[in-house]
Every structure is written in C-alpha cells, then in structure tokens.
C-alpha cells in the first residue's frame, strides 16, 4: 500500500537539511541581492529580501523532502533514478519508419516557417541554426573523438573573418568565401591538432583554450589587417547574382528588381535562413553517415581506449587530426553564416564565453548525439530570447541547468543511440 503520508521520516535529518539549504542560499543571495553599491559606499537595504529568498528556498527544500518521502514522491524519484542508470541504447530497426516521418514533418515545418513568421523570429532562428552548426562541429571533436576543445570559437572566428577580410582584400563574395573558410578553418584545426596530439584531458583543454584566445587577441591587435576592435564589414549572401539588398552592392541585381514588386527587407533573412537550413541538413547527413563509417567508429574507439586502438592498427595521429579538421571546417562554415547575417564582424563576438556556450550545447545535448545537439542548440538560443526580461540571470540559469543535467541526465538530453548494423543483422538473422 502506498501511503500519501510521509513514511519513515527522520525529523532531525529533515531539519538539518532545511537549515543547510537556508545557510547555503543565504551565503549566495546576501552578497548578490542584499548588498547594493552606492557610489564608493554600499548599503544593506535589501538584506531582508535576500534572507526572504533564502527562507523561500529552505521552505521549498523542506516541502520537496516531505514530498519525496511520500509514496508518490518516492516512486517519482525512483523513476528518475532509473532513467539515469539506463545505459546507451541501440537503435531498434522498427522505430525507423516513424523517425523518417518525423524528420519529414520537421523539415516541412522548418521550410514553411520563415514565410509565416515575423522578421524577428527569423533572425532568432538564424542564430539558433548557426549554433546548431557549431554544436555539430564541436560534437565531432568532443562528443565523438572525446577531445575536449575549449577554443572552438577560434574556428568560428576564422570562418567569419575569412568572409569579411576576403571581401575587403580580395573582393570575394559569400560563395567564394564559404569553401575558402571551411578549408582555412580546417587547416587551422589541423595546425592546432599536431601539437596537441600527445595531450589528454585537462592539458588538451587548456591548450585549446589558449589557442582560442590567441586567435581572438590577434584579431584584436592586428589593427592594420583586421581593423582591430573596430571590426570589418562583411558581404551579404547572394543567389546567382541576385542580391537581397535595396540597391545592388556587389554588381548583381536586387531581388525585387529582378522579379518585380516591392523591396522586402525580410527577403534577405528568409534566404539566409533557408540557406542555413540546407547547410545544417547537409552537415547532419554527413554526421549521420560518419557515425556508421569506419572513421566514425575509429573516433569513438579512440575516445574509449587509445592503447587498444593502436594495437589494432589504428593510426591515432590521422584519426585525431581528421576529427579536429572536420570539426573545425564545420565551425568555419558557421562563422561565414554568422558574418554574412550580421554584415559585420569584430573580435568581441568570439570570446571564451562563446566557446563555453558551444560546449554547453554539446554537453547538454548529449555527447555524440546529433539529435540532442540540435535540440540543445535551439533551446539555448531561443529560450534566452523568449525570456529577455531575465537576461541578467541568463548565466545563472545556465549554470543551474548544467548542474541539474549532470544530476539527472549525465549523458545529455538525448541518450546517444548506437547504430545497429542492418546489413550484418540481415546476414546473421538465421
């Protein structure tokens, strides 16, 4: 029989927990909320509010503890814990049809979206898709190959600056820069890859962090070439010489003159969005194939056990470099879209916080899970927009989300699903 009343409850334990919650909350909130700077002085006028908040948290903790001790609560907790224990799943073949239907529906929705939504929403989604690209790129490096890269923003910056500087010095447009940026970022990925091949874990993280900062500082300080903190303007994307600006800037024809009709400022954003959507689809497809190819397997195997890999004849140098290079290339493409969409780049867009955000996308989404990364990227860019009035607390919410994720879903929102090998299954069915 499950009772609604709390069972086997220790009052002392409960009080202790509540007091601890109050103390911790007070320590956090008193300095943040309670103390107000007033010129060179500060006043403690809001201390009551801070203590009130702490009290609220303590009471919530008490109620939660009481609830978890009831039959219903205990079962809920058990359920969550069970989910946490669940191992990596292997994709059952029967689910594939539904997955296909779902993907098609999402794609139809995504294509139709910009023609119905306001410009603002389109720009939000453009940014979200750029983060999807970045997440997918970093997912190869961190999620699949297990190389913790804290300087991924460097490749993003290289991509963005390739478009901007390529236009300024070489007269390149969007389409020349796209492959050039991918190649250049990949090259830098390769250059970074070489010295860090022998490093693992923390050392690798710190080195890549340094690399990210080096790129940003070079962009800031090489004023003659990059414009330094003042930034550079970047060209907008075009379609076979058709431009989406009011007047032709790059020697093409504006969209509204070509097709007739009024100038529509949304057209540029719709075009950028659709282009980005296609790119994301291509990258997702590449990701999907790679996971099933020997190189994808090699990345994962290398993440699991480097010694075993080498004894199996895997060239760990090539495998690691390929992960770095490919991930960086995708980051570069994302950078081109970012610069093209903004029309302007400067080094402040490429700080460490950006790297952390991209890493958060990968970790929250689930290391190695393509679907998870897409969902996390969308969530982490759209939610802050939706909750603009709480913008100051964004990073706090972020940290909170991370902590809760690590407790309840340490493998990410979506558990990575291992592909099952249908060709082999068929051969061995009997």
């Amino acid at each position: 029989m499950t009772s609604i009343l709390p069972t086997n409850l220790s009052i002392r334990h409960l009080l202790l927990e509540t007091l601890t919650a109050f103390a911790v909350a007070a320590v956090i909130f008193c300095p943040i909320v309670g103390i107000h700077l007033n010129g060179y002085d500060f006043d403690l006028g809001h201390l009551k509010l801070a203590l009130g908040l702490a009290l609220g948290i303590a009471i919530t903790r008490l109620v939660l503890a009481l609830f978890l001790n009831t039959g219903v609560g205990a079962r809920l907790a058990q359920h969550i814990m069970d989910r946490r224990q669940a191992p990596v799943a292997v994709a059952p073949t029967t689910r594939r049809l539904w997955a296909h239907v779902f993907v098609v529906l999402v794609l139809i929705g995504a294509v139709a979206f910009p023609f119905m939504a306001k410009k603002y929403f389109i720009t939000v989604l453009i940014l979200a898709l750029i983060y999807v690209l970045l997440g997918l790129g970093l997912n190869i490096v961190v999620g699949l190959a297990g190389l913790l890269d804290l300087g991924f923003v460097a490749f993003y910056a290289i991509g963005a600056y390739t478009l901007a500087l390529g236009h300024q010095y070489l007269g390149w447009g969007f389409w020349q820069s796209l492959p050039a940026a991918a190649a250049l970022a990949a090259l830098f990925g390769c250059i970074l890859g070489f010295p860090v091949l022998r490093m693992h874990g923390d050392y690798l993280a710190i080195t890549t962090l340094g690399f990210g900062e080096i790129i940003r500082l070079v962009l800031t300080n090489w004023v003659d070439f990059t414009g330094g903190p003042n930034g550079v303007s970047a060209p907008k994307p075009t379609l076979f010489g058709i431009e989406f600006t009011r007047r032709a800037r790059y020697g093409g024809t504006p969209f509204h003159e070509y097709f007739g009709g009024e100038y529509n400022s949304e057209a540029l954003y719709i075009f950028t969005y659709l282009l980005l959507l296609i790119t994301v689809c291509i990258v997702v497809y590449i990701n999907h194939r790679l996971k099933r190819m020997p190189v994808g397997r090699a990345w994962e195997a290398l993440r699991e056990d480097e010694i075993a890999c080498r004894s199996l004849g895997l060239n760990h140098v090539l495998v690691k470099l390929s992960a770095f290079t490919l991930g960086a290339g995708i980051g570069g493409v994302a950078g081109v879209f970012f610069a093209g969409y903004q029309g302007f780049v400067n080094p402040t867009s490429f700080t460490f916080f950006e790297s952390a955000l991209i890493l958060a996308v990968v970790v929250l989404g689930g290391l190695g899970s393509t679907r998870g990364v897409i969902i996390a990227a969308l969530a982490l860019t759209i939610l802050p927009e939706a909750l603009r009035q709480f913008a100051d607390f964004r990073v706090l919410a972020f940290g909170g989300a991370m902590v809760f994720m690590m407790i309840w879903r340490p493998r990410g929102i979506i558990r990575p699903v291992r592909p099952s090998f249908s060709t082999i299954e068929a051969n061995h069915a009997g």
Binding site: P294, A301, A308, G313, N315, R418, S420
Partner: protein, 238 residues
C-alpha cells in the same frame, strides 16, 4: 633450419632509468604455441608490447618474416599479420560487441568484414548472441572472448595474448584455453604471456621463463611442467 616466424634477438627495453628487458632473445616458429611465463614485473607484458613498438626497444632487433620491425610505427605492425590481445582486455565499453569486432578489422581494411565476423561468431557463439549489447555490460570472460575475437578479425598469422586468464573464473579460463587450442589448430601461431603457468604450460608446445627481464629457462611445455624449480616457483599449490 627454416627461419622462425618471429625472431627476437637480444632486445632491451627501458622505462626511464629502469631496465625492463635485459637482452632477451627468443623465437617463435610457424604453427607453434609459445608461452612466456613469469611473475609480476618480470617484463612479460613489456616483451609483448615492445614487439608492437610500445615501448621502443633499445638495442637488438625484432624480425618478423625475416623483416626487421623494431622501427615500424605501431599502427603499421598490426597490418603485417600480427594481432595483440592486450592485458586487461581493453574492449571499447560504450560500443556494441559487433562494433568492437569491426574495429578489429581495421588493419585489413575490409569494408564489410562479414566473413570474418562469421568466423569469430563460430569461435565464440556467445558473442553472436550478444552482438548488439554494449561491450561494457559483458562479464569478464565474455570481454576476454571479445578481445580475442577482435584480434582474430584481422586474420592474423601470429596472435599475441597478454594474460588471457587474468581475473577469470577457472571454468572460463579452461574454455578460453580450449578456444586458443582451436585457433592454433586452424593454423594461427600463438604466443601468450601468462602468470597462470599451469594452464599456459599445458597448452604450449614451448615455453620461456622470464625472471627480472631475463630469460632464465626454456623448454617444451611438458618439460617445464615437470621441472621441480618451476613447480616450486610458479605452480605451488597447483
């Protein structure tokens, strides 16, 4: 005399200032089962790993099929027909059994590997049952089978095993050694390093005894099994 399949000639190996192998020489002929026994820290694993260039030897040479491989990069050696089943199994825990096996096919660069998979599943029918299971969820014995199966995926001429009995129940050890016998009968040359001298010597045609990085004794498996010194040092209570 024909040239041996693997000829190790006076090799030494160091970990920093510590010498793990002192001018060790041994040879393995085609079709043989050779065991290397010795206590903890005698240099058994170092010997196997140094064949794979990890650590690199200093002095001496390792000739495989009459080619010196002591300078060959580790990943290239596996493609020459040698397979190593590492100590502690080292399967890839998050990957499925089938994926683990396919990783073993890396050196032969086989696109499908279906025939090889079939062969391994015949050796270890249990692996076929568990092919979609995560390797980390297998028991120790099953993981050892998987590690051996993974080694067999590259169709090796010479299979090197590092302590295949480590941490396994006696009945599982028996089954695994029986399978090793089957593998040898199919024409694969086997060299295994073991602390479990009893099992190893029963299986082996020839054996070497390694003490402090030095080969102290050699002979046929049954000879060494009957040797009173060996019985006292390695088979006490067995």
């Amino acid at each position: 005399m024909t040239t041996p399949l693997l000829d190790i000639n006076g090799i030494s190996a160091f970990y920093g200032p510590i010498q793990a192998l002192r001018t060790v020489s041994l040879h393995i002929d085609t079709g043989e089962i050779v065991a290397i026994i010795g206590a903890n820290g005698a240099g058994k694993s170092t010997l196997l790993m140094s064949i794979f260039g990890h650590p690199r030897i200093s002095g001496g040479e390792i000739r495989y099929n009459n080619v010196d491989i002591s300078g060959t990069p580790t990943h290239r050696i596996a493609a020459m027909g040698l397979a190593l089943v590492p100590e502690g199994r080292r399967v890839f825990p998050a990957m499925t059994v089938a994926e683990n096996l396919l990783m073993g096919a890396t050196p032969v660069n086989d696109r499908s590997g279906d025939a090889d998979l079939d062969r391994v599943y015949q050796l270890f029918p249990l692996l076929k049952e568990r092919r979609k299971q995560r390797a980390g969820t297998l028991s120790g014995g099953e993981q050892q089978m998987l590690a051996i199966g993974r080694g067999m995926m590259s169709r090796p001429t010479l299979l090197l095993l590092d302590e295949p009995s480590l941490g396994l129940a006696p009945i599982i050890v028996q089954r695994i050694f029986q399978t090793l016998r089957d593998i040898a009968d199919s024409g694969v040359t086997i060299c295994l390093v073991e602390q479990n001298a009893n099992h190893a010597l029963r299986l082996a045609d020839r054996a070497y005894v390694l003490v402090n990085g030095d080969i102290k004794m050699t002979g046929s498996g049954s000879e060494l099994l009957g040797n009173p010194d060996i019985r006292r040092a390695y088979l006490a209570g067995a």
